[in-house]
Amino acid sequence: MKGTGIPRRLDVIQEYRARGGSIAAVFPIHYPRELLRAFDILPVEVWGPPKVNGEMGTAHLQSYVCSIVQNALSFLQSGGLDTTDLLLVPHACDSLQGLGSLLIDFVKPCQPVLTLYIPRRQRDSDVDFLADELRAIYRRLEAITERSPSDLELVTAIRREEAADALLAELHRDRERFPLADEARYRLIRSREYLPAEEFIEITKESRAGFHLCLRHECKQTRQARRDENPALRGIPILLSGIAPEPMSLFAALAEMGAFVAADDLACCGRRLYPAGRSEEPFRRMAERIIYAPPDPTRGSPIQERLDYMLRLIETSGARGVVFYDVKFCEPELFDLPQLRQGLREAGIPSLALEVDLNDQLSQPILNRLAAFLEIIQ
């Protein structure tokens, strides 16, 4: 990373490789970055990616499988992941489960395929199981890399990721300190999907530094004026929920309509604000971080818990409405939608549900519905 710009994914991969590290392609949603980094493996996440020629995926997957999984398989088969050394498929839903199974049994890519089962509750048994599951992954990585990171190395990696996650949470919650427009903010947030934690920390701190400098000297009026100019706080605040904000031009479209994302409940962003672990034992600590993350249907969080969490986000961010921006065929999202919307309605919060495909551009009907919704909540 040079200057304050966010480096490109490919450059990061090449640079990491040049330093002697390995690369893991990681599919959605939850996994411990620190475990991979302890083996000097950089996790690079594959959320689709969008706008991939899906033909290769359709040779293995039916049309009713979501575009995140379709695209991931197509991308892999078209050589998009050739620069990676291993694949990690965390379990999140039936479609990602199927993807892992297909890769192991039929597609058989040249990289080793590791799977990770994420338990669905927050019981002690879930923490214990996930810790065991991470130990099993450790043993696989040991065999693949012929390295055996010590507990101290694991703890160091955990602390580094915890520091990055604390900063990520700040980036999400404290928009005043990060005067970035939504698109720039979310590019920074999503750089966590491929940047090493230490680089993410460096870039994020730099984008905050300017704010601290002016804070030290400004009076109340100046501060208000600065707040008014802050693109992160300008317009109609909304809460964005769903899997991934693709295409990213969604943010520009929102800005054009006079709105901004005041908080999010996105699987790739706000639902992965992992807290610091409690245990001193490294595997349990990694497990706790995932288990006690914000509510997520794929981790079995009760719908009421999700609703309460969203209402808290709305209260603290001042969001005036919720946009559910869901990927077609995504069961975990679609099952919760009616009860969440009903709960929001009862709390006087309007909501809008949009269904998109990763390969689609923002269509005019979707833009029209967004514009109409924003007019209502304005």
Binding site: A59, H60, L61, Q62, Y64, V65, H91, C93, D94, S95, Q97, G98, L99, G100, S101, L102, I104, D105, F106, T115, Y117, P119, R120, R121, R123, S125, D126, D128, F129, D132, E133, A136, P297, T298, G300, P302, I303, Q304, K328, F329, E331, P332, L334, F335, D336, L337, P338, Q339, R341, A353, E355
Partner: protein, 457 residues
């Protein structure tokens, strides 16, 4: 229970039971004549119309025990209708470890089976619409939509469903049930017990088993609290033994499909499997399957096949298309094609020997982690290959079920490998197990015709 409730319960149950018994006797008398007089058979899998005549030149009459199946299912739902008056009710997923609930005298309801009843009676579409009107996407599982639609509207062909005191979801069949039961938990405001079974990509690890066992152990105190009674170890052993016996008998019955001609088709199995799914752990279920096995053996002795002129034998993969069972049986039967084995019905028998009656909880953990839907796509392919060999099959129909992703993902590769490695034709048939809107008769017929040609019939 108040006196009024007692009266309601006993009168409703007794009168209903009597009505079911009379209907069975009537049906049995038709069945007897059906087996001696070829023009007066009762329609298999069809609606219960008194006096209906069997009218198939290509399919043999249904098993004589079929009216008893109908009576068992009818009685199960009849008991459910009044269950809230006198016992605790649990709604459970089809692959859930129910033995401890049975041992605590819960009335156990299977929303998936209720969905299948709605599907066969062709009311699922109307009930699904109720859920869709409430905002549930058309892309969600049609069993879930049927269930949620029924909960929201009260519509059901079985009279009335009892309200749950407890929900038990086990992820060994899909993750969908977790998402679905969370909706039910909030709607009914009742506890949801989750038995989370890690997916077996390649092999079961000890920490997987330990995790499942611990969850079952942790679930029991909550179930005891709701049931207001402690779990008796001996009662649990009895229930486990009865579950095992029923499953073993079921495995034997479907295994009789190895005979040429097959005495029972999968279309019969789809209906006859209801008791082993929703009435496991009951003595009458064991008796029922023992009687069925006897009848199937009699058929074998007499050389009676489910399809009269059996020429080709197929495997069915995935759930049935509940609303078109008879149509498909007839369509294929006209060409002398019998579907004699199915990965779906096999799933309720293949694990029978894993049920441990000495250590039921450990046995439950080791059994319930292992159904076909919780195993990798390659394992399912191996199961299909084994069945092709054992049953002497000529082809495979893989129902690509829009509503069941865990069963369907992998089928495209499985089809290709079956054709390449077993040298038999395999057809991918697009449909949905419960929602007829995702089914095109014309398209299905065209594809079946092409497939029949490949079979060389």
């Amino acid at each position: 229970m108040s006196l009024g409730d007692k009266l309601r319960y006993w009168s409703g149950n007794t009168l209903g039971l009597a009505a079911l018994r009379v209907a069975r006797w009537q049906a049995e008398s038709f069945a007897v004549s059906a087996h001696t007089d070829p023009v007066s058979f009762r329609e298999p899998n069809g609606p219960a119309r008194t006096g209906a005549r069997w009218q198939s030149d290509v399919l043999s009459p249904p098993l004589k025990i079929s009216p008893r199946t109908k009576e068992l299912i009818g009685h199960h739902y009849l008991k459910g209708r009044y269950a809230n008056l006198h016992q605790k009710v649990a709604w459970v997923t089809s692959g859930a470890p129910i033995e401890f609930l049975k041992a605590l005298d819960f009335y156990v309801l299977y929303p998936e089976n209720h969905g299948a009843v709605c599907g066969t009676m062709r009311v699922a579409e109307e009930i699904c619409t109720q859920a869709e009107n409430a905002g549930y996407s058309h892309d969600l599982c049609s069993y879930a939509r049927t269930d949620i639609g029924s909960v929201l509207s009260g519509k059901t062909p079985v009279g009335r469903l009892p309200k749950p005191d407890l929900l038990l979801a086990c992820t060994n069949i899909c993750q969908t049930v977790l998402f679905w039961y969370r909706v039910l938990a909030r709607h009914f405001d009742v506890p949801l017990i989750l038995i989370d079974t890690p997916f077996i990509y390649t092999e079961v690890r000890e920490h997987d088993i330990a995790f499942v066992k611990r969850q079952i152990e942790e679930a029991i105190p909550l179930a005891e609290k709701i049931a207001r009674k402690p779990l008796s170890a001996s009662r649990l052993e009895d229930v486990a033994r009865l579950s095992r016996e029923a499953s073993q008998l079921w495995a034997e019955i479907i295994g009789r499909g190895r005979h040429h001609p097959a005495p029972i088709s999968v279309f019969d199995q789809f209906i006859q499997m209801a008791p082993v799914v929703e009435m496991r752990g009951e003595p009458f279920t064991v008796d029922f399957y023992a009687a069925m096995l006897k009848e199937v053996d009699e058929r074998i002795a007499r050389g009676v096949g489910a399809v009269k002129n059996e020429r080709k034998r197929l495997l069915w993969d995935n759930l049935p298309i509940w609303y078109r069972l008879r149509y498909l049986a007839e369509y294929l039967g006209r060409h002398g094609i019998a579907i004699v084995a199915s990965t779906y019905t096999n799933a309720w028998g293949e694990l029978a020997d894993r049920i441990d009656t000495q250590d039921p909880i450990d046995g439950m953990a080791r059994t319930y982690i292992y159904p076909i839907l919780n195993r990798g796509a390659g394992d399912k392919l191996a199961t299909m290959k084994r069945m092709i060999e054992e049953y002497g099959l000529d082809g495979v129909i893989l129902h690509s079920d829009r509503s069941c992703k865990p069963y369907s993902i992998g089928q495209m590769d499985q089809r290709d490998r079956l054709m390449r490695e077993c040298g038999i034709p395999a057809l991918l048939l697009e449909a949905d197990h419960n929602d007829p809107r995702a089914y095109s008769e014309e398209q299905v017929a065209n594809r079946l015709d092409a497939f029949i040609e490949m079979l060389g019939v």
